[in-house]
Symmetry: C2
């Protein structure tokens, strides 16, 4: 079993780094081969552009999807993309470790998704959701927040964290066919003392040891929506 | 009246560029002074790190919020951040023009927010939502999607676009006090023919001309949540 931890925090001593290390050691103890992509340490290129490909499919007009499919077919993806794709494709479990910045991913991590989730490789026209090309892999989001736990929730100021994470859970992970495990959340981290940090890291170890017993999040199935997709294709064809 | 259009697309001939130009011309016709930040053309730095600041508040540990506040006070933010902040602070209307990538912002645009939405300048400890420092400004999201219109909606495969955009609408724009206008959405753009593109760009001009009559999205108010925030602060202090 392989695991990949995608880690995005600029401070090596951050609590996110502690959680990254908890994941690596716990999963190793559980028999996983663990790889870590430390995006800041790697100075990972965040911005998708023509330099992502050594081929040019259409020099007149840069269409991301078409260039990605072309480069995937012609083995002309940039080396850093190929390296991350290899890690992703051999992983049975993919963990995203990051601080919630502006209700979303730090740009370096969003760029990892923009660039590494290559069309034709991780998804295709009708290869989405239960037909996605990453089917069989499990994904876990481990996120820290600056806001206090009480500020998150259906009726709370910031809304529910599952809603905030839905674009990642549903639109990235389930979209490509992955099974999405319940996220691990540490709230109000900048204000947590040493004892509380130790407790949170222990709680994370327990979460990871219990992975096989966690009930995945419910996600839509393409099969239940074929009519709506076909009707819009027909409307377009008219 | 000043308007700022933040535009993030790697292809100068893209339909997003058409919409950017529709906004610039329509708003100019309406009497606005319009500025455009073309993030790809500017090669805008997407990744927040120590290079964002010419001062160091804590050399042992890089805490983004504390370094931002320190640099804002000491006028030591990087030049590109200062330039964008100046545009943002003088704008009465801020438009975000981008293609939806992986249910979210292209990384270069997320990086613009991570770096330019500086703590202490656009928000502060209790200066959020209706007390946010960008209060009085209006924000409009103009987004294109690859998926067909029928794939978006409460019961559709991809879910409702207002939910997909909620982290931006609520967690960035309303969070800093901005009034959030209903978004302008063009679906299935890669498959739209020339005539349909013309129709969509006319529809956008109408949307922009009607801005003053659009009912802003409803957003939470800090005043309605003070108890929940205070209780978590007390819990922390114990």
């Amino acid at each position: 079993m392989h695991a990949l931890v995608i880690y995005a925090h600029p401070e090596p001593q951050s609590f996110n780094a502690v959680l990254r290390d908890v994941a690596a050691s716990t999963l190793t103890d559980s028999g996983y081969e663990v790889e870590v992509s430390d995006l800041y340490a790697m100075k990972f290129k965040a911005v998708l552009d023509r330099d992502d490909f050594s081929t040019v499919h259409d020099e007149q007009r840069f269409n991301v999807t078409l260039e990605q499919r072309h480069a995937a077919t012609h083995h002309s993806l940039a080396n850093d993309i190929v390296a991350e794709l290899d890690k992703l494709l051999r992983a049975d479990l993919v963990i995203f470790q990051f601080p919630l910045w502006w209700f979303g991913l730090p740009a370096i991590l969003k760029g990892w998704i923009d660039r590494v989730f290559v069309s034709g490789v991780v998804y295709g026209r009708s290869n989405i959701f239960e037909r996605g090309k990453l089917k069989g892999k499990r994904a876990l989001v481990s996120v820290t927040t600056g806001g206090p736990a009480a500020s998150f929730g259906r009726d709370a100021l910031n809304g529910d964290l599952l809603d905030i994470l839905a674009p990642l859970h549903r639109g990235v992970l389930a979209f490509t066919g992955m099974t999405v495990l319940p996220p691990f959340i540490c709230a109000h981290v900048p204000y947590a003392g040493p004892q509380e940090r130790v407790e949170m890291s222990h709680r994370y170890r327990e979460h990871l040891l219990a992975l096989d017993r966690l009930k995945p999040l419910e996600m839509p199935r393409l099969a239940d929506h074929l009519e709506e997709i076909e009707s819009s294709m027909k409307a377009r064809a008219r």
